[in-house]
Symmetry: D2
Subunit: 361 residues, 4 copies
């Protein structure tokens, strides 16, 4: 990380960035991405703990893999709004439990700080869908306004709105994998949505978070596979809103894979009309022609988890039955990167007017 280059005027100005909540898995990846981000070389991000974590610590203490030769790197400060304001913070990432994000996002906006929220707190516009998060608002009127203003942070769908947004709700990991696979086909109107779409998704254990529970115990997860939340996983709401479907039109069942990270979603649907693999390929490629973080596999190659892990890509592939109507889509991503921290940085890039994939390739 020798930084011997001269600063070319204006090339990398100072953009004060802060992160609240870096103790989790997505937090670690977010820190890593920001510390290596070429636009932040001369404007190092500032890290804060969660509310109530009053002791200072360091990134290295939390995540030893991030250490340098010279020992503990960046401090992790107790959270402090005054400190944030003083530093002129421009964008604040919230990598917090959703209850806390729901409280803190308004606080940040009130101080003129833009927010990228990695939780589920602001993703859903419909109250009944959002109810699954059991959120309580201090100021319900304000919260309603902010909710309406919040942009769902899927850059491939809402690139322009994100660029100017004050509050970006970073999508769920499962939902990202499914939405990116389905959006092109649904927008093209070729899916028989009334037949119903089946999304069988499988995720590595990091998706379950850092809390030590019976289900994150090595002995539970290793050499195992289990389905859970067969109907009603809370990411379902994102599918409904972003894909404009109702609950009878799409089914999503997640499974817990015995691997650290990665999601593979296998999606089964019927097309309205007989079509060809080429036509589907063209449709996908065209939809994502300007999306540097989506890779379309040429049939018959299909995405695999090992090809996306530790990358910021979402990989898409498909196979069409000989009848020309039954389509199987396969979508892969790293749940901590394109499914969380990588997508959050992608949103930051857009919000700063930088190239979307800067620091992510």
């Amino acid at each position: 990380m020798e930084l011997t280059r001269k600063i070319v005027d204006g090339e990398y100005g100072s953009v004060p960035i802060a992160v609240a909540g870096v103790s989790g898995y997505a937090g670690a990846e977010l820190a890593r991405l920001l510390l290596h981000h070429p636009r932040l070389k001369f404007s190092r991000p500032v890290f804060y703990g969660r509310a109530g974590e009053m002791q200072s610590t360091s990134l290295t203490d939390l995540h030893p893999q991030l250490a340098t030769h010279d020992g503990p790197i960046d401090p992790v400060h107790p959270f402090d709004w005054d400190d944030l304001v003083e530093r002129g913070t421009n964008i604040l990432f919230l990598a917090l439990p959703h209850e806390q994000s729901r409280k803190w996002a308004p606080e940040a906006l009130a101080r003129g700080i833009r927010v990228v929220d990695l939780s589920g707190a602001w993703r859903l516009q419909q109250d009944d869908l959002r109810a699954v998060y059991k959120l309580e608002d201090v100021d319900p009127v304000l919260a309603r306004e902010l909710q309406a203003e919040a942009i769902f942070g899927a850059p491939e769908l809402h690139r322009n709105k994100i660029a100017t947004a004050r509050l970006v709700a970073n999508p769920g990991c499962y939902s990202t994998s499914i939405i990116l696979a389905l959006a092109p086909l649904l927008q093209a109107g070729i899916v028989d949505i009334d037949h119903g779409i089946i999304c069988d998704a499988k995720s590595g254990v990091s998706g379950a978070g850092k809390a030590a529970t019976a289900k994150t115990h090595f002995m539970y997860a290793a050499d195992n596979l289990s389905a859970y939340n067969v109907f009603g996983h809370r990411h379902t709401g994102e599918l409904l809103e972003q894909l404009h479907l109702d609950a009878s039109q799409i089914q999503f069942t997640p499974h817990l894979l015995p691997i650290p990270r990665g999601i593979l979603s296998t999606i089964y649907l019927r097309l309205k009309e007989v079509t060809t693999p080429d036509a589907v390929a063209v449709l996908l490629r065209d939809f994502y022609k300007d999306s540097p973080l989506v890779r379309i596999h040429a049939t018959p190659a299909l995405p695999q988890i090992q090809h996306v892990v530790r990358t910021n890509f979402c990989d898409l592939g498909f196979e069409l039955a000989k009848d020309g109507k039954r389509l199987v889509l396969v979508s892969c991503l790293d749940n901590l990167l394109k499914g969380a921290a990588g997508q959050a940085v992608q949103n930051m890039n857009l919000m700063c007017g930088w190239p979307e994939a800067e620091g992510l390739l």
Copy 2:
């Protein structure tokens, strides 16, 4: 494991059993089950290699985990029909490539030896479905007769026919998991089969066999998940024939899991009429009330791979959507046991008139 039977003279008489092909993973499990089988205590099974494996070896050399304190256990002889006949072999297990099974089964039957074939050679009655195996028959007329006579070795479906069969075609691992889940519902006529049934199946690596290939390399399989044979896996034919469906009514897509063994199939279907979880549970329990190797999970518990690995059970569970029509079945088994060697022994038990689960609990 309740063994309340009285032990009577001659009950454990001599039943000459032989196995051809014990070098693979299913072969190892078959050897282990037979060596521990209570009815074979005084009639040790005899093991043979594949055609062309002319050197004698021992089970221990092939599978060190089977060794005893006293060193190499049972020899594995070069295959020899005369030897088989001399020993008065009653039942011969074929754990061989399907091409070889297709040739050897007629040879065995001609010598009065009953066969349990673990390959795909004899499972399919329809020529067009069986074509996927590219089998060549020395005597096509005889092969056609034997094919017609062959019984699909799913004890839960064909218990009585298996008991008297000369040639039992042990089912595929994937197909066992799917057929056992669907048979009760399809036989009850409650499934909307024209809507289509989706079977998303996931299997451990032992299902891919012992050959060292790019796909069985640790670096390919570990920390990965991949879909393959999205349409047209060769076990599909078994689903069609056993479940009396046509190819448009059922879709089956397998995935390779980063675990040694175990299959989990997630099956999505619609019911013709609104029903209740209780009604589905009753239907499943009733169907399998006399099947000691099927376990029905009480909703909301679902089967998991870790609960069936190293057992001879197939575990079934389900969840019904609130609409009472969309049903998700989850079926788990150990692909080497209930999906191969365990089911083969279950078939042997039936063929010998012994309790179906003898030596399998």
Copy 3:
């Protein structure tokens, strides 16, 4: 595996066995072994929870893999001394935290019930070594007497004493693997003990117990390896006492492997005199010639974890340097079986006068 015994009246009489504490991993294996034990077919063991676990449950609720077709198997009762006494309990397994075992063993003995304790509570005779467990005795005088009476339950070393013991302290998993490898050589007096013996041991995660902690989290253990307790793991005391060494003569460092179960210990030592591989092999084979649960590998084959997992064996192998003096021993076992539940049943067999390996092959 050969069961040539005649089955005679009364052979399988009633032997009331009970287990306290079946909720853990070793408890599950203990239950499984006892339920399948041929001598207990007509005398089913009784299962109890830990102190304070007042609610009845079932083995199936705790360990779904143990279920039968007919649903929940054996109940797990709240612990109750009166119930134990009423049932005429002969042997009680304690699969409990060591503090609890230290309290309950005297209680059982006072009621005429023999004890096999799977914890570390009674393994060490020297107070200073046992201090690591921070045990408190209600009646220190009695505890001292019982401690002196307790037999270290390594059947290969103390077979005869175990047969008549009232209190058997089942050895630690790491210690079993190391003691069985070293005992023959040390007893033969051929090891240069003053040079120092290095034991580099590696264990699967089940050894860390069922509690969900930061270190048993899948994300910590998977794809990882870490050394811990480099000096001073509490199993060290067992090595010192059983092998008659002092702390300067043996070093033992454990590592956490990313696998569910299995221990491999690599042991480095120097011999006093130049010797040959054959001489070492003869010495090991001779020492274990009557030990059905120890398998000696013929050089150059070495034990591997996959060959002992789910077996009750300890596998031993070695390689001798060309100098004839530097010896590397490799010892493998399943930490839940030969390292815990399997060895406990082996002890029970001896205490009942049954063949040592009954129900364990």
Copy 4:
């Protein structure tokens, strides 16, 4: 990888770099590192296949994880000396079998191309140690000269010589982990080398290469641990030469871990004099004070594989017994990075006069 920055004069000149052999695991990492190397932004490396691989392919075909949104990236050309010369190649990485490297390095040097060889072909100066590789030289006189000229590419030990070397022999993965741990202590003369040093090393499966063999089969490696080459692994020669020890003074036994990548070496030794943990820590820190790719852990923290995987660091830690003389060192690295491709790039950096860790942090 948006490259919108202006080129500051002279900052990143053109440095023609080529790689021969990118189909393996280390080749993939080498390609990735070079493609992201800041000094090579305007001078993209050129990739060639092995001898005999005559078909052009692409990095993406070989390693789909390296693909970009825009599809297949860099071509992989059939190997061609003329092409290399025409491009003015400055440094050639050889990621080839050692037999091929032994032949090609002289060819490259004869054409004025400097070589970083990742195989074992040029690492050992002593003929008897190198004999393990069974190398044949076309021109033995020249080979002897080049061997004498070859520099062992451990930057932390031979930084200055590497800078001007024509032929750098990149160290083995195991040897790197052990040499970096021991060099500071041995150079300080505080180790009782006559007592003997024990190196118990454990490596992930990628160390065994990409060839599909019985030992790289998922079913062999998964859920397993095995020792191999107990005495006489071919990396031992590097330890002897680099650490100036004879074969009686150091023992090195490798084990195969069930993980994709990472090495942990546990090293046991005795010090000549009683010392303190602080003194050891100071010694290590001082030795590596200018080595940006070595991280020293503060006792009692020890390195773990998960903290070095996907990094270019070697992590070192230790624990000293209370007697002040028995020392256990723990050394971790990623066998494909600091143990192969990362160290190769570190060598390239030195050879080009760039900061040692450029592109590696």
